[in-house]
Structures are given as C-alpha cells and as structure tokens.
C-alpha cells in the first residue's frame, strides 16, 4: 500500500484492526487440544479485586451455609498475585466493609486516609487551583496500592480454601450449546515459531457449574461472550490509557492531587493524578481517553514531559523512580455497561462489565461489590444444581439495584460530554453536576475508539516537543519503563499480537505512538513488533493489533502499582 505522504486524510484505526478471533476464543467443550482437565464448582477468571471478592464471598457463604465446601478456583495470568494489577488509587472502603463485616478499617490493606486534596488546571509553566468538583471529593476514602489490596485479598481467599492458580491465563471459553461450561488455559513452553520446547505444558481445561469472568479492562473472553450472545449496550465501551510511575521522593507529599489541561491537547480527555502512598512514596500518572484526535499523541512521552512541570518536579527532584506501568480503563460508564452481564453458566464482573465511574475515578469498590453480588447469585443458583441464565440473572438485578448502577447513572453523561472538547465538555459536565445528572440528560452517543478518525502528518501534534532523549533521572524511555515494570518475558515466546494484513506506514506510526511500552516501531516504513515488551495494558486491543494471552507469567511484575 503506497504511503500517503504528509497525508491530510484522517487515519481510522478500525480499518486496520483484525476482528476478535472468536473461533479461537469460543470452543466447543470436548474439543481436542487440552492436556489435563479439572472440575470445579465455580471458576473465576482473573484474581483482581472483583474475582477475589467473589471467591471470598462464595467461600464464606458456603462456610456459613454449613454444607459441603465449595471447590472454587481462580485463574490468574500473572506469575504472582497483583503483578498485573495497576490503579491510582484512592479507594472507597464501603465494599470491603461489606465483604468483611466486623473488620475495622485499620485492618484493610490501605495506605492512609485522604486528608487533603487539590485540583489544578495546568498550563505549560503554571497552574490554576480549581475548586474540587463534588464528584471528586474523597473525604472518607483511602490512598492504596491495588497490588497490595489484591495480595491481601488473595491471602484471605487462600485461608478460606480457595485455589488460586497463578501463571494460568484463560485463553478460550468452553461452551455446550449456549452454555458456558468453563475455560481452556493458554499453553506454556512454546518457542517463537510455536513449537513445543522441553518444558512444554499443554493447555488445561477447567470446567465448572459457573464461570465468573473478572478479566479486568478489555477482557477478551468477556468481549467474545458478549459478541457471541449479541448482548446489546446503548453505547460501545470506550477506554482511556494511563501511564503510571511510583517514586521514592526526598520531599514529602501530604495530599492527593488531580490535574486537568496541560500537557493534554484540548481535544483529548484526561488528566493526571499524584497520590502519596506514604509521604515519601508517591504514585503519579497521566490518563488520556483513547478517542484522542491527534494521531501522533504519545501518552508515555506526554507523561515524561509532564514530570518536568514545577508542580511535579519539586517532588520528584532527587528522588528515584521505582516502578513504571500502564493500563487502560473502561470509561463509557452507564450507557456502555451491557444490558446483561450474566447468562447460562456465566457472569461478568468488575472492569470487564464496565463498572467504572470516571468523574470520581473509582472502579475498585465497584469491582469488589460486583464480586460480592455475583457470589450471592451464584451460591443461590448452585443450590438448585442448574446455574441457568434465569437464576444468574439475579446478579444483574442485584447490580442494577445497587449503588454501582445508581452512581453510574448519576454521572452517565459526564465523560461522554468531553467528546466535543475540553471546554464544551467542562461546561456540560459542570451543568450535570449542578443538576445531579438531570441536565443534559439524553444519552450522548459514542463511537468505539477505533472508529474515531485521527489527524496524521506533520500538522502539530501533542507528540511534538517530547523530550527527544530521556535523561534517565527524571524522564525515561519506553524501554526503560518496561524494565521498571518488572517485565522479564522470555524473548522467545511466540508473538501474542494479531496484526492486521497490510499495515501501512501511517498505521505503524500511530501504533508506535499509542503503545506506552514500545512494542511497536516503524522501521523503514514497516511495522516492527517487539512483543515481549507488552505490559498487557490492552490499548493495542482497543486501537490496533488484537491482544491474546501469552504463557503464564509473561508481562509485567508490578509490586505496588
């Protein structure tokens, strides 16, 4: 395909995106190819906050019910709990209180209560303090590390007899008719060309009466199931991409900070956060909606530049960057949550179902709550041996009646309003806040991120003026970031990314900027894929080559993200 030099034609990512490989993602139960087969009562895919909360609540219900212990298995693709979990985070404790009634807040794996907070509008050199929007007030909430929360939840789950299998990614759903009966895991020990090595491990089939999909953002099996079952949603799901670092600082931080504006261009939605995990251990990051218009926008570069702003560098100067990571966030809110998140033999939890409230930047307590509600519905359904769609629909009813959907409904258009730009969006969002969501109230229609056209060519982009060379003390290259994510993926694993045919140079450039981990490079007009760099943020699955799971333990090893 000839290059459209200095093209004025917008670039539409969807054109070059291969479709979801559903023939691989949905397999008939009994299909050949598996080694071992294990039977469980309940199978949970993903040991994040939603998956583990579901496991814990289920185990407790079984214990209290006095009947037989439930055989519960949780599959986690990371080598150890928490290693693929990343969030800000400022957590609302209400769901953990529900999961562990009687436990005081001080026993929860939080870092510190939020005492002070500030919101700023940043410019290249300065800042303007804004009044904290009501949706962003965090009194009563706690600064936390999601990794630490997940490791703690994991301990609680294992103490209750839950089997947590780390290093086992779920690669396909196993179905019988319309019913989900389990999953097949990915193989391990293949070489670059897909040939088995000496320590090859065949995929495992795990079958259960109910499978709970808690895969986190842009869950693959959740997508496949919703597409297969043609589950409608009012809007497609849309996403943001965040890049985050943790720093040990010389100067203490005593408040949580959020910023809007610079360095994001006005037609991009997002902002930054700066949280103290401890006075001298800060988490900071920059998040941008993936419907950004400038095809050269490079969130990692913008984030590196952002750290040079006085607001940030006064904390970071003299300190040390100890971790780096990236993750996408489902941002569609109320209208993007699928009409049903349950079916025959299956329920969908947490981020995979889209339970994230962008205006308040909250998702963890919704994930935990969805896990609790799912557990209750599953437990009741198991009683009657069937676990049918009708019975599991009780989970949907419970979620719809809970604070999860109430909260999402209230802010249903706030993020969506920003599709028209920062100021218009800000104005609309302000009005929504004032009117408690009543005005403007009609659903704002959105396109999937991949369908949004991007400006290409040399016309000034947010990718301009990036620090040409990272200095290695305050700013870092993508490759160095990947090192700090703890990623030691075997260089010879088969590539897990499905690239569309005939990727033109424009697409290669777009992917290279999009990916925070430097997986994609444009080399002499062609696309070069450095798959081992991938940190599973899923931006690629949303805008570019499709993501599939690699052998267990691949990807980042986050410690306190």
């Amino acid at each position: 395909m000839a290059e459209r030099a200095a093209s004025r034609e917008p670039f539409v990512p969807a054109v070059y995106q291969p479709p979801l490989p559903t023939d691989r993602l949905i397999l008939k139960h009994g299909s050949p190819g598996a080694g071992d087969r294990t039977e469980l009562d309940v199978l949970i895919v993903g040991a994040g906050p939603a998956g583990l909360a579901c496991a814990i609540e289920l185990a407790n219900l079984a214990k209290r019910g006095g009947g037989a212990e439930l055989n519960i298995g949780v599959l986690e693709k990371a080598a150890a709990l928490g290693e693929h979990c990343l969030s800000g985070a400022v957590v609302n404790p209400r769901a953990l209180r529900e999961l562990f009634p009687g436990l005081p807040d001080s026993d929860f794996p939080f870092r510190a209560p939020v005492r002070k907070e500030a919101v700023y509008l940043l410019t290249a050199e300065g800042r303007l303090r804004l009044p904290t929007p009501p949706t962003m007030r965090n009194k009563g909430n706690y600064v936390a590390s999601l990794c630490e929360i997940v490791r703690w939840l994991g301990q609680q789950a294992e103490a209750l007899g839950v089997n947590v299998f780390t290093g086992f990614p779920a690669a396909s759903l196993l179905v019988e008719g319309q019913r989900v009966v389990g999953v097949r895991t990915a193989a391990a020990g293949l070489d670059r060309d897909g040939r088995p090595l000496a320590n090859y491990v065949a995929p495992n089939d795990l079958v259960a009466k109910v499978t709970a999909l808690a895969e986190g953002t842009r869950g693959m099996l959740s997508q496949a199931w919703s597409e297969w079952q043609q589950v409608p949603a009012e809007n497609p799901q849309i996403f943001a991409l965040g890049v985050k670092e943790i720093w040990e600082t010389k100067r203490p931080l005593d408040r949580i900070v959020h910023t809007l504006g610079w360095p994001l261009p006005r037609d991009a939605f997002g902002g930054s956060f700066l949280y103290p995990l401890a006075p001298n251990l800060v988490a900071l990051g920059l998040v941008v909606g993936l419907d950004y218009r400038d095809g050269t926008l490079d969130i990692h570069s913008l984030f590196q530049r952002m750290k040079l702003h006085p607001l940030f560098c006064r904390y970071l100067e003299g300190g040390e960057m100890v971790e780096w990571g990236a993750k996408t966030i489902p941002e569609g809110g109320y209208y993007s949550v699928p009409a049903r998140r349950s079916g025959d033999g299956v329920v969908i939890l947490g981020d995979s179902a889209g339970f994230v409230d962008v205006p308040s930047l909250k998702g963890i307590h919704y994930a935990v709550q969805s896990g609790i509600l799912a557990a209750r519905a599953i437990f009741a359904a198991l009683r009657s041996e069937q676990a049918s769609a009708v019975q599991l629909a009780e989970y949907d009813r419970a979620v719809n009646a809970s604070f999860i959907m109430q909260d999402l409904y209230r802010t249903r258009n706030m993020r969506l309003a920003f599709k028209d730009g920062f100021y218009t969006g800000g104005l609309k969002a302000g009005l929504m806040t004032l009117t408690g969501g009543r005005f403007p109230s009609r659903k704002i229609a959105m396109q999937p991120d991949a369908a949004v056209p991007r400006r290409t060519g040399l016309a000034g982009g947010a990718g301009r003026d990036e620090p040409r060379v990272a200095d290695g003390t305050l700013t870092f290259s993508k490759v160095d970031g990947v090192f700090k994510s703890g990623n030691t993926t075997r260089d010879t694993t088969p590539t897990h990314l499905i690239v569309g045919p005939d990727v033109p140079p424009d697409a290669a450039t777009f992917y290279a900027h999009m990916c925070p981990a430097g997986v994609y490079e444009r080399v002499d007009g062609t696309l070069r894929v450095n798959a081992p760099n991938c940190v599973d943020c899923k931006a690629t699955d949303i805008l570019g080559p499709r993501w599939t799971p690699r052998e267990g333990g691949s990807g980042p090893k986050y410690k306190r993200m």
Partner: protein, 329 residues
C-alpha cells in the same frame, strides 16, 4: 599463627594463571596479619602428579616457599584427596588462613576443606583485610547489587578469591621450593578426563573481554567488524549482542547480553552502537571497565561507560582493531 597457606591450581602439570592472584592475595593477607609483629609467611601449595611448570615463579608474587605435593593419582583434580591433603597441611602447619581461588575447582574444594577443619568459608571475595586481629572480607551478593562485609572469627580463616580481582602484583621474595610425595587417599569421586572446548566457542559469559554490538551496526554483515576486533585480542574476546539485534535475527540468543539474555562481568566490555537501555545495562553493569562507542553523544550508555568515544563506529572500530593488533604484536 599468622602464616597463610595459598592453594594453587595446576592443569596438565602447568600452573594456572589464577595462581598468581592467589599468591598476591595471600601475601596481602599475610602482611596484614603480620603487622602486629613477627611478620607472616606465605606458603604456596600445589598438588600434582609430578613437578609443575611455573611453580618457581611464585617467589615473584610474594610466596616464601612453594610446596609441591605429588602422587600419581593427582594428575587430575581429586576432590577428596586434595581436601584431605590440604586440611592436614593446614592443621600441621598451624596456618592462620588458607586462600583459594574461587575458580570452578576452588569453589568445589574450599568448602570441603573448611568443613573438614570445622570452620566457616568466605567464598568468592573481592577484598580482604585484618581488623582487630580478625580477618575481614568483602563478598558481592544479590548479583553484585550489594556488598557483604564479613568477619571470620575462627582460625584458620578460609577464603576463596574472586578471579580477576586480586590483580597479580610482582613482589619479589627470596623463596624456597620443596617437593614431596604424599599418600593419596582412595577417592570415590574420580575425574576421568577433561573435554576441551572447541576452538572459537568462547561464551560471552566466560570471556575476559566482551565486544557487543547493537542496532548501530545497521546490518548483520557488519558484525564482522566486531569479530575482527575480537580476533585481534587473541582468543580472549567474545562478541555479544543487544536484544534488539537478537530479536531482529542478526545474532543468536546465546550471545544476547542483558536482563533477558546473559549477565556478563568481563574485565573489559566494549559496547558498540548500543544506546544503553537499562535492560542491557542490567546484563553488563558489573564489568570492570566499560567502553562505549556511539555516534549519539546523548546515548545513555555514555553515562555508565568509563571511557566513551563519540563517533562513527565504522571508522572507530577498524582503527581500534588495527591498534590492538599492533599491541599484541
């Protein structure tokens, strides 16, 4: 007593070069132990099937006496026999310390000797001193990310020296030599032979000099420049590669230096056309001396290199090869 027993290594009746380092380290320790008065001797011990070439040079490194103990059974390394002979000698001679090289043989032998004598072993040390009459050592741990300082309170103090650290220092000493036959206890563990490595198959992790190339080489054929430079060093150098060029299929994964490849710690590491990403640095950061050649003066590799040359590698490397050839005559 403050005398030090230095255990040397021989192969095929010739002393291995690392023996010079062992004597140098032993001499340093003996001088420190002897400070209190009375001085201290260094007796060098070599166990072999017969006389060993090079043994008479050791006075030049500070040995007072070289003792060659012979038995036909000691042609190859005989772990149980060596351990017994050395332990008996250490006891009989009342030595204050026994020094080994932390070579493949030394790492095997030193623990046996220590256990026989009922004393601890400080293995693979990079520094040695005497403080308050006790031997103190430094031992790198966590892959060189930290240094452990230890005190040995028992006597004799048994230590093994990391190779290439205690650079052999000429310290002439009027010494003597003696050779004696010893009984070889029947060993259950028998070395039946040594397979020699094929010529040219020097592994990057073993080589004293590593020359690595990155994307700056532009194409696989250009690695020939690095191979020529390696050859100019006369068999001591191996050619390594950054992850980028291995991923591109230019070089074998066995040559990859870096976090997901091999970790190397040569005496001299020359990075050619390599930018210096942390994952590469993680694989060579503990090299003794790092040289970088790159045309981008802002490349991060220059921050970690001891000596840098900013320039076109296609000019610099051939010139370097030419000069090295001259040096080696």
């Amino acid at each position: 007593m403050n005398d030090v027993l230095a255990v040397l290594e021989q192969r095929e009746r010739t002393l291995r070069k690392v023996s010079n380092e062992v004597v140098t380290g032993a001499r340093r320790l003996a001088d420190a132990l002897g400070q209190g008065g009375g001085g201290a001797r260094v007796d060098a011990l070599v166990i072999a099937a017969g006389t060993v070439a090079g043994a008479d040079q050791l006075g030049g490194f500070g040995a007072d006496k070289v003792i060659t103990l012979t038995n036909p059974a000691f042609g190859h390394y005989a772990p149980e026999g060596h351990a017994r002979v050395i332990a008996d000698r250490a006891k009989a001679g009342g030595y204050g310390a026994v020094v080994f090289a932390a070579s493949a043989t030394g790492r095997d032998l030193a623990p046996r000797v220590a256990a026989r004598l009922g004393v601890p072993l400080a293995q693979d040390i990079t520094d040695i001193a005497v403080e308050g009459g006790a031997v103190t050592v430094v031992h790198p741990v966590y892959a060189g990310r930290a240094l452990l300082k230890l005190k040995l309170t028992a006597r004799p103090a048994i230590v093994s020296l990391r190779p290439n650290v205690f650079t052999a220092v000429q310290r002439p000493r009027a010494g003597s030599a003696e050779t004696a036959a010893v009984d070889a206890p029947v060993g259950r563990v028998v070395v039946t032979g040594i397979k020699h490595a094929a010529a040219g198959a020097l592994d990057v992790a073993e080589a004293a000099i590593v020359i690595s190339g990155g994307r700056g080489l532009r194409e696989p054929a250009n690695f020939k420049l690095l191979e020529q430079l390696a050859a100019a060093f006369g068999g001591r150098a191996a050619v390594g590669a950054s992850r980028a060029v291995v991923d591109a299929g230019w070089r074998a994964h066995a040559d990859q230096v870096g976090q997901t490849g091999k970790t190397v710690s040569p005496t001299l590491y020359i990075a050619v056309g390599i930018s210096g990403a942390i994952q590469h640095l993680a694989g060579m950061r503990t090299s003794k001396v790092i040289v970088a050649i790159n045309k981008d003066r802002d490349a991060p590799i220059f921050k970690v290199a001891d000596y840098g040359v900013v320039g076109d590698l296609f000019e610099v490397v051939p010139k370097l090869t030419e000069e090295i050839k001259k040096l080696h005559g």
